[in-house]
């Protein structure tokens, strides 16, 4: 089973490596990091913080964008182009196929993240900006966040069109970043039904803000082990649930 999943995953990575689109997106991300350097040089206060804020924001935004826009096509493209027909006639289950595609895209996204981070670290070293363990914590949680975003995109890709899947995935990511604030606003509202809605939004939708330690890292605030471990466990749990739902949906599909 693992060999079959790995065969599909490694082929998905190979597809990405041979695709021009991802190199273009990666180029944009690196250009944005360069812009961060330029902006930090223009500022007369706290150059390091501007570089980190802007650099991390660029990396996160582009990584999420790549994860969503490649992820929503992940399964749909296989069905649309009918490559899935020959693959599923081989001795592997639909769930193995879906997991293979998921892990393949995840490895691709992490590789891209690795390139962006390497570039970011390189520019930080050249410009003399300080880097520490807190920066590593930011990247570690970004890895989990990206795994979750790929799982969301995979879920929608398993049953709907790329257009709708993009719409839903982007929507969930944006609202997922706001649910903490919405919950706080709901708690202050006089209408209890609003509080109920915002509380449940926070419970049901992925709490994306829990993976973002950029502010703590940029301001040199202490990051505890639990700040890292709790979001990791939460993220992995959420991913497992999403993948199980995706597999259940995909198992029932008819490929007409």
């Amino acid at each position: 089973m693992i060999l079959r999943i790995w065969t599909l995953a490694s082929n998905t990575v190979r597809e990405a490596i041979r695709s021009k689109l991802l190199y273009t997106l990666l180029g944009f991300a690196i250009a944005l990091i360069l812009l961060a350097i330029a902006l930090s040089q223009l500022s007369y206060i706290d150059n390091d913080r501007i570089l980190q804020n802007f650099g991390f924001a660029s990396i996160r935004l582009f990584s999420v964008a790549i994860a969503i826009f490649v992820g929503v096509n992940l399964i749909h493209k296989e069905v649309d182009r009918r490559t899935v027909y020959t693959i599923l006639s081989k001795p592997l289950s639909r769930s193995e196929f879906l997991l293979g595609k998921y892990f393949g895209l995840l490895i691709t996204i992490w590789l891209q993240l690795g390139i962006m981070v390497a570039f970011f670290v390189g520019t930080s070293v050249v410009t003399g900006a300080s880097l520490g363990l807190s920066d590593a914590a930011v990247i570690a949680l970004l890895c989990v966040e990206l795994a979750l975003v790929v799982a969301i995109a995979t879920l929608f890709s398993a049953f709907t069109t790329p257009m709708l899947a993009s719409f839903f995935s982007v929507g969930i990511w944006i609202v997922g970043n706001l649910t903490r604030d919405l919950k706080l606003m709901g708690a202050k509202a006089s209408d209890t039904s609003i509080e109920w809605v915002t509380t449940w939004l926070h419970r049901v939708l992925p709490d994306m803000a829990s993976f973002d330690l950029t502010i703590e890292a940029a301001h040199g605030l202490p990051i505890s082990a639990s700040d890292l471990a709790i979001p990791m466990v939460y993220g992995v749990g959420y991913i497992v649930i999403l993948l199980m739902i995706s597999m259940a949906i995909f198992e029932r599909r008819d490929f007409r």
Binding site: L3, N11, E15, S19, Y85, T86, S89, D254, R256
Partner: protein, 318 residues
């Protein structure tokens, strides 16, 4: 009843699709049943839209049947492990075009569980078998439709399966390619394999298949050995007569059950072969002239056309 040498068993399969988001369902398979025996080449024949590909997709587990039972080599089609024993060529196959011919076959061999030490030689063997050795290291995006069809056949055979399912295997091939594939299918039978072939090209079926099922409008119309089809029914003859008086034409219809069709001044009629001589005598005595008399061979095509016409008549009646 299942017999021990039934490789593929399809029993009373019904498939309904929902055309849109509504509750309305469209039935595309109306309780079809047939079986494929060991070491035979089975032709599944029907016009476009008859339900051939849907049936094959049900067998491959790509579509779930609404009701009924299907098994391959005694396994339910939703199981996966037995697929090590089957190969499948879909209609108009599409592959990852960023891979080369060699890479795609290696990919399928890995998925099929071909052992690592055998993979490279097996891939080379298959590339040679389908005539793609020269193009083995070119990306699939540079392949022609016929070459992709050959890749499709190669991936279906790369793990040396016991049963091979081919959906329109001659599609996109030139005459040489078609002959190569026909020869390959016949060679598979000599190797002891069972072949299930979806097609609407009847000449291919007559040349390679042992048994055939004809499907039209989602219903099986005939199933049996090719030889049975070709000798089935009473031999007939086609007569073409000129200057036939109207009253004699009526008499021919009444006495011999002749089916008449007019072609200007000539009339074409089909009668039982044993009635050809008396019918011609009657016509000649009435002053008509016999233009031609040709024995009518019952072919798969005529059976196919009868099946299609029957299904159209039934649809019109309902």
């Amino acid at each position: 009843m299942t017999t021990s040498n039934d490789i593929v068993l399809v029993e009373d399969i019904v498939k309904d699709f929902r055309p849109g988001f509504g509750l309305r369902r469209k039935r595309v398979l109306h309780g079809i049943s047939f079986r494929v025996r060991e070491r035979e080449i089975f032709g599944f024949v029907g016009p476009n839209g008859a339900g051939k590909t849907t049936t094959l997709k049900v067998l491959m587990g790509l579509i779930h049947a609404t009701s009924g039972r299907t098994s391959i080599l005694g396994n339910a089609v939703n199981e996966t492990a037995f697929r090590r024993q089957i190969g499948y060529l879909p209609e108009n196959p599409y592959f990852y075009d960023y891979l080369t011919g060699r890479e795609i076959l290696d990919f399928y061999a890995k998925l099929s569980g071909v052992e690592r030490n055998l993979r490279a030689s097996r891939v080379d063997e298959l590339l040679g078998l389908v005539g793609l050795s020269q193009a083995a290291d070119a990306r699939l995006r540079t392949y022609s439709k016929g070459m992709l069809q050959r890749v499709g056949i190669a991936q279906a055979l790369v793990h040396d399966p016991q049963v091979v399912f081919l959906d329109e295997p001659m599609s996109g091939l030139d005459p040489i390619g078609r002959k190569d594939v026909r020869d390959l299918i016949l060679r598979l039978r000599t190797q002891g394999k069972t072949v299930f072939m979806n097609t609407h090209i009847l000449s291919d079926v007559e040349m390679v298949c042992d048994r055939v099922a004809i499907i039209a409008a989602g219903r099986i119309r005939y199933e049996g050995a090719i030889d049975e089809f070709l000798v089935a029914g009473e031999p007939e003859a086609d007569l073409v007569l000129a200057g036939l008086p109207a009253e004699t034409a009526v008499e021919l219809e009444e006495r011999f059950g002749a089916k008449l069709r007019g072609h200007g001044e000539q009339i074409e009629l089909r009668v039982a072969e044993k009635d050809a001589s008396p019918a011609m005598r009657l016509a000649l005595n009435a002053g008509a002239r016999v233009v031609s008399s040709i024995p009518h061979r019952v072919s798969l095509e005529s059976i196919f056309m009868t099946a299609v016409n029957e299904s159209q008549d039934e649809e019109a009646a309902s």
